[in-house]
Symmetry: C2
Subunit: 464 residues, 2 copies
Amino acid sequence: MAGLIAQLRAALPHDGGVLTDPDVLRSYEHDEADLVPYGTPAVVVRPRTTGQVSAVLRAAGRHRVPVIPQGARSGLAGGANAIDGAIVLSLVGMNEIIDIDTENRIAVVQPGVVNAQLRRAVAEVGLYYPPDPGSWEQSTIGGNVSTDAGGMCCVKYGVTSDHVLGLEVVLASGEVLACGRRTAKGVAGYDLTSLFVGAEGTLGVITEITVRLRPAPEPSLTLVAVFDTFAAAGAAVSAVVGSGLQPSMLEVIDRVAMGAIEAYRPMDLPTAAAALLIASVDSGSRAPDDLAAIAAMCRSAQASDVFVAADEAEADALLAARRLAHVSLEALAARLFPGGGGIMVDDVAVPRTRLVELIEGIERISAEHGVVVATVGHAGDGNLHPVIVIDRSDPVSIAQGQRVFDAIMALGLALGGTSTGEHGVGLLKRDWLAREIGPTGLKAHRSIKAALDPDNILNPGKIF
Amino acid sequence: MAGLIAQLRAALPHDGGVLTDPDVLRSYEHDEADLVPYGTPAVVVRPRTTGQVSAVLRAAGRHRVPVIPQGARSGLAGGANAIDGAIVLSLVGMNEIIDIDTENRIAVVQPGVVNAQLRRAVAEVGLYYPPDPGSWEQSTIGGNVSTDAGGMCCVKYGVTSDHVLGLEVVLASGEVLACGRRTAKGVAGYDLTSLFVGAEGTLGVITEITVRLRPAPEPSLTLVAVFDTFAAAGAAVSAVVGSGLQPSMLEVIDRVAMGAIEAYRPMDLPTAAAALLIASVDSGSRAPDDLAAIAAMCRSAQASDVFVAADEAEADALLAARRLAHVSLEALAARLFPGGGGIMVDDVAVPRTRLVELIEGIERISAEHGVVVATVGHAGDGNLHPVIVIDRSDPVSIAQGQRVFDAIMALGLALGGTSTGEHGVGLLKRDWLAREIGPTGLKAHRSIKAALDPDNILNPGKIF
């Protein structure tokens, strides 16, 4: 290990390039996923160049030491969790926006660029980078690409993979692979770019990303509809997506989540209701008609109230409420279980027509197990985040939470869905991935992993 | 070989399942690419079920005989060309539309379904399958997926890969892999679906395809602009795509192609002009404004004339003209070289801002070599198809054509583009792929190929 660290120091001589202080090492142990194992790395490296990433992987390969790539560690599946004795390869220092090509509507960035940083930079020149995971103020584009992150805008604009045109990747061998393109179209060889997107750092370390941008959308119009049952909100969503309208946002918040948000930051949410549905449409001449059509569908689905946000400030406040769900539910867990409240965030996606069945099933599972489950999510994509509130100090509560978590995923798969819509597999859902893709799928995964990382150096044990 | 054929007959006992008649075998030798080598298969099999495809691959593996998957053989890169003694695996008999799910806007089809067949079936229920390669009346969805085919609508709606949600693939081992999903989002494991799309049958045989559909667009408005120089048409295209407008079609036809089309089917095209630009916008309340804005940009770019199609029939006639380019240029070649006229169809894509440089370069290369080059293409994507007219009976003409072909691709790469925008690599562009992706890219391709097809049974020699 001493020899390895000396090699790393030689390759990354800059201040903060190689960290071995035990307290510092512990701060790089895990991401935001709860109840997932992690270890303590032997060393953290923070390269500034692709060449340095290469040098790290070559050194790791020589010493057969695993490498755990990390961004902002805001992931929710343990995909960035360290293992004992590993090298943590933090990409946050490679945070330069290399190019914004306004004419071709392309940006080239380093992996450590924060999502919000890119959004703001392209907005300044009238462009738009749509993917907006809940963590957008912290999470990095490299992490977004490695997990194929989603967000609220995906219902109209698609997920991260829909915006990645090309990548520079350092392979386990230390070789630097350029894949993808800067053109609108291109079919030269295998689509390696898509293979690395969502691979959670198990196939290579992404060191440069070329993303597709869009013209900035005009400000949106937003409404909120209030429902007396959560299933009615789901029925409204099915009606909207089935109609062919293209909302730019279609989010749900259930009663438990609403109460938690209101307690965390009072904003007069209708906490007696069962669910809120927030819908936006990009403005333009058709927007008022589209919003009126969505309002009518909500009323047909028995909404008890529908109101249109008076202005952007009011719409932003609704969005802010939705974005506070995660932290509010953590606070709720801490209040419910002062000894060690915690949350398990699930991430199930089903065909959009099965949304009501998913919602009713989650409510049934919660009641059957007597476990508090708050649900928020990207309803327009059929993608919900049931959040299970547990007492981490109580093994019985943890076991109950785990049973609820599993029951919800089993339901999602039974409805023709997937066990992860946007958070990724990491360590949290390895068993579920195996169930979802079956033995032939797993074998294909293993053979591709072995082809690109024969010594299993890169983020071993993640995904499968 | 006799043992192999007996095994194939046992697995595919239906009429026409196994073909060995020498005349029939010759009709399965090659696709539409000119001047690309091909051989004569030992046998053609036409399975009807996934199980039969599996049986074919198992038998091929036991006997170590290569398998060449084929659709309609309308490809333009030799990707479906047979080699001597191989098994041709024709998927045209698996031509069932399995499901059209109108609520989730998804279709599930077998690979032999013809593109136009799917388009018509989903149009009947008010839906739209956008990818529209020039061969859409003949080519199969399986072939479209295997080459990641494009078309005219891609400028707004994207290419085939943007519409594939999931696949069933028979691996070289005969095992059946299901990948992808039916949900709007999903990140469970590696994106194997994208890996098989565009892999030209070298990694597996696609036996079922789940595609994303869209609501049917309203009828479009179309204009045609006439230019005195081809570069001026390119400048108009750059202005339109740079403006953020989203035309649903933006196609160019140069003077040579226009003359060939007019000779093939007289329709009063302005054959004295240097280039035509055809632009469409999907209708809706903004469409007339958008079309007027495009017209203004064409005039600013020195269009000598701009006229709006009076109705859909006139717009369809313009589109029909564009779609006749390929067959018209074959006819032109036959007139110019009665001894053996032929065409080489190129397929270069550049960043959209480099389009004028590409156009001027193609004109310069044509003049320098004294070779007739007609250019049509999806200008809005920066994707042009320079068509080189040669005398196949004259080795000097073939060599000249090859030099022009290569010079155009070298220019495309020098402009930051790709050697194939939508036709694929096949045999035609193997050398160019190697140049484009470099040794590390090639090595990654080879390792993935070896992982999924260790005995190199599937379409060997294609792509790389």
